[in-house]
């Protein structure tokens, strides 16, 4: 049986008619042709003659199309709607664009009719969008963006939990033993932050210093921009006093002078040789220290370093590393009983988690609140 709908659709040009109206006309005409086809079959004609009889009912489809387009002017779509009708016919992504266009036009018409409301709506949305943008910028920078170190998710902080449930920095002696024996770490290191007096070079200055144990820069995954970093053994007393400068101190205090390497600086009244300059982007664990010195020269009790870091080996997860360090605790307790009298457990936490732990809930709550404000503002505008 002929497909009369397809037959009509291919011949009848209705222009930019409302799709519903167009479908109605096409189907109605198709049904009438079907009736003529049936009439001929009932009259004894074969299928081919019956089809020819039906087709003969309309000899000039162009003229019929012209007349219908003229009659159906009231059902012709406006330009925007014509585009939307064609887009809908294509389907897929075009369907989405067609709906979006319809919503945008409707919104624009509504806003044009009420300029006062439009101004209020724009201001409300602008404030809401501005607030959420600013908030998300902080959230992204602090909570989402990875730390600027190689494989930052492998960096962990090492701390000890006491029997009373308190968490404290790991004992330095324990750290050194773990560094020697542990297999799940690339390296472990400690750091103490302490101010340092710089004299003998222009205006005396008090700089923030980072006193670090051997392997610190290896854990951080950084190389020197100029010169070198600390070598094994330089964190022990009695060796040459060496210092590494941060990039800001090198540029702001010493004008970025490459000849500074090998010069001596007077720090805390003692001469230290500048051996290296760190890259500009280095700020481990946070933007804190201006100069870096070996742990041997810190002027405080070395029982516990403030920060103890480790870089876990690839293929090892945090739980495995933690289990290994905990397995070594009984031996350490036997060797250093006073240091480990209160220690019950070793805790590892990723550096990122440790840095953002306190501010994370606040930031998420703030982001949620701002998002809610924007949602309410949008709902008010929409209704």
């Amino acid at each position: 049986m002929p497909d009369w709908k397809e037959y009509v659709r291919r011949r009848l040009e209705l222009g930019d008619l409302d799709p519903h109206r167009e479908n109605r006309i096409v189907e109605d005409l198709a049904e009438q042709l079907e009736d003529f086809y049936g009439e001929a079959l009932e009259g004894g004609a074969g299928p081919e003659k019956a089809a020819a009889f039906a087709r003969a009912q309309v000899s000039d489809w162009d003229r019929l199309g012209r007349e219908l387009r003229s009659v159906e002017k009231s059902h012709r779509l406006p330009a925007a709607d014509r585009w939307r009708a064609r887009a809908r016919a294509r389907g897929g992504l075009w369907l989405l664009l067609a709906d979006l266009q319809k919503d945008l036009l409707h919104g624009a018409r509504t806003l044009r009719r009420a300029p006062g409301f439009t101004l209020a709506a724009v201001l409300t949305l602008a404030i809401g969008i501005g607030a959420i943008t600013v908030t998300f910028t902080y959230v992204e920078a602090i909570l989402i963006r990875p730390l600027p170190f190689p494989d930052p998710d492998r960096l962990v902080m090492v701390r000890e939990r006491t029997a009373e449930g308190e968490v404290q920095p790991a004992a330095y002696a324990n750290l050194l033993e773990w560094r020697r024996e542990a297999r799940t770490f690339v390296d472990l290191a400690g750091m103490i932050a302490q101010s340092v007096n710089l004299t003998g070079e222009g205006e005396p200055a008090r700089l923030r210093g980072g006193f670090v144990s051997d392997g610190f820069f290896r854990v951080a995954g950084v190389s020197a921009l100029h010169g070198r970093l600390f070598q094994p053994g330089e964190d022990q007393p009695g060796g040459e006093r060496v210092v590494v400068l941060s990039h800001p101190v090198w540029t702001n205090r010493f004008g970025g002078d490459p000849g500074l390497l090998g010069r001596r600086l007077e720090l805390n009244g003692e001469p230290f040789t500048v051996i290296g300059i760190l890259p500009e982007e280095f700020s481990f664990p946070i933007d804190y220290a201006g100069i870096w010195l070996p742990m041997a020269y810190v002027t405080q009790d070395l029982e516990r370093a403030w920060w103890n870091f480790g870089r876990i080996r690839p293929g090892v997860d945090l739980e495995q590393a933690e289990r290994e360090l905990n397995a070594m605790l009984p031996g350490l307790a036997a060797r250093f009983p006073e240091l480990n009298a209160e220690v019950q457990q070793v805790q590892l936490e990723t550096l990122h988690s440790r840095l953002v732990r306190r501010i994370r809930p606040t930031l998420w709550i703030f982001l949620g609140a701002v998002a809610l404000v924007l949602l309410i503002a949008s709902a008010n505008v929409a209704t």
Binding site: I25, D28, D60
Partner: protein
């Protein structure tokens, strides 16, 4: 038999009067006109269908898809109250027109 202009002027009246009795689809309307006129009046799709659409756009008739038992789905046209009013008006005009023509040509209206 009749000139296209003459036929064209009466097609609306013919359609409205056929729909006064009951709702009909397009094919049936054409066939009824032919049958009741004993074949004197024949309107093919190109003559009939645009008129149907125009009358629907004017609100004189309304088309609806109906599927009756044992039959295919078809668009049935029905007279609206406005269409009924127009029908009466056109009937009056037609009667007056025919009477006027007859007066001129001197024959009685049957």
């Amino acid at each position: 038999m009749f000139s296209p202009e003459l036929k064209k002027g009466s097609v609306e009246l013919l359609i409205l009067s056929l729909l006064e009795a009951k709702a009909r689809h397009g094919y049936e309307i054409g066939k009824q006109i032919e049958a009741r006129s004993d074949g004197a009046l024949q309107f093919r799709i190109p003559s009939l269908y645009p008129v149907l659409c125009r009358m629907e756009n004017r609100g004189w008739i309304r088309g609806r898809w109906v599927e009756k038992a044992g039959q295919r789905r078809r668009c049935y046209y029905r007279l609206t109250p406005e269409g009924a009013r127009v029908l009466e008006q056109q009937k009056d005009h037609w009667d007056a027109y025919v009477a006027a023509i007859n007066r001129v040509i001197g024959s009685e209206h049957a």
